[in-house]
Amino acid sequence: MAQNTTVPTAGHDEHHHENTVVFGFWVYLMTDCIIFGSLFATFAVLRNQFNGGPTPHELFEFGGLGLETALLLLSSITYGFGMIAAHKSEISKVILWLAVTFLLGLGFVGLEVREFAHMIAEGAGPDRSAFLSAFFTLVSTHGLHVTCGLIWIVTLIVQLMGTTEIPERMMNKLTCLSLFWHFLDIVWICVFTYVYLASMI
C-alpha cells in the first residue's frame, strides 16, 4: 500500500520517460523492418535462379520448419507471460518465464544451425546459386537477430537476479525486449510463408 501512494507523482515522470525510450526502440524496429524488406525483395527477385543447383522441393522439409515455427511461437507467449509477471513485480516468475523463452529460442537457433550445416554439407551452401545466396542472407539475418535476443535475455536475467523490485528503467528494458522478440516472430511469419511454404507449392 505504501508503494501505491508514491505512484501518481513518480508515475508521471517515468511514464514520460518510458514513452521516449520505448518509442526510440520502436523507431529502431521500423528501420530493422526496412532491412528485412530489402532482403525479402532480393529473395523475391532471385528465388528462381537455381543455376542448375538444388531447388526448394529438394532442400526444404515440412517437419523441421513446423518445429522451428512452433518453438518461436511458443517463445512469444512465454515472453508475454513474463511481461505479465513483470507488471505484477513477481521477479522469480519473470526470471522463470525468461529462462523458458531463452530455451525455446535456443532450440530454434539450434534447429536452424543444424539445417544450415546439413544444407552446406550437401553442397547447397550460399555459394551454390543466387537463390541459395538470397536464402542464406535472409534467413541467417533473422537467426542472428534471434541470437542477439538470446544474449539480451541472459543479460536481463542476470540483472534481475537478487533484486526485490523492478524499477521503471528495468521495465523499459523488458518492454523493449518484448517488442524485439515479438517483432522477430512477425518476421518469421513472413519467412515461413514466402521463403519456405511458397517455394514448396
Binding site: 508503494q3 508515475g11 521500423m30 511461437l73 512477425i186 510463408t193 514466402y194
Partner: protein
C-alpha cells in the same frame, strides 16, 4: 497498479487471456498455412493467394495481441512510424519485383 491490465499510465499491455487468444489464433492460422500447402487442395496461384491472406491476418493478430498496437493517443507516434514503414517497405518490395521482372522480360532472360 492492482489491475494487471493497465499500468500506471493506463497503457494496455495484455493479460493472460489476451495472450492465450492471440496464441490460439496464431496456431490456427499457422496450421492452416501448412495445411493449404501440404494438402495440394488448391491451384498454385490460389495457394499463394491463400498463404498471403493467412500471413497478413497472422501478422495483424501478432501486432494486436502481442505487440499491443492500438489506436489510443498514447500510441499515435508509434502508429505514424509504423504506417510510414509499411508504405516504405511496400514500395520497396513491389517496386523491386515489378522493375526486375520487366527487366528480365525485356532482356529475354526468362
Amino acid at each position: 497498479m492492482s489491475n494487471p491490465n493497465t499500468s500506471s499510465s493506463g497503457e494496455s499491455h495484455g493479460s493472460v487471456s489476451s495472450y492465450l487468444i492471440g496464441f490460439v489464433l496464431a496456431v490456427i492460422l499457422t496450421v492452416l498455412s501448412f495445411g493449404v500447402v501440404m494438402s495440394h487442395s488448391l491451384a498454385p496461384a490460389g495457394t499463394l493467394a491463400a498463404l498471403s491472406v493467412l500471413a497478413l491476418v497472422q501478422v495483424l493478430v501478432h501486432l494486436h495481441y502481442f505487440l499491443h498496437m492500438g489506436s489510443g493517443s498514447e500510441a499515435r507516434w508509434n502508429n505514424i512510424a509504423f504506417v510510414f514503414t509499411v508504405a516504405f517497405v511496400s514500395i520497396l518490395i513491389v517496386g523491386t519485383v515489378f522493375i526486375m521482372s520487366n527487366t528480365s522480360m525485356n532482356m529475354m532472360s526468362r
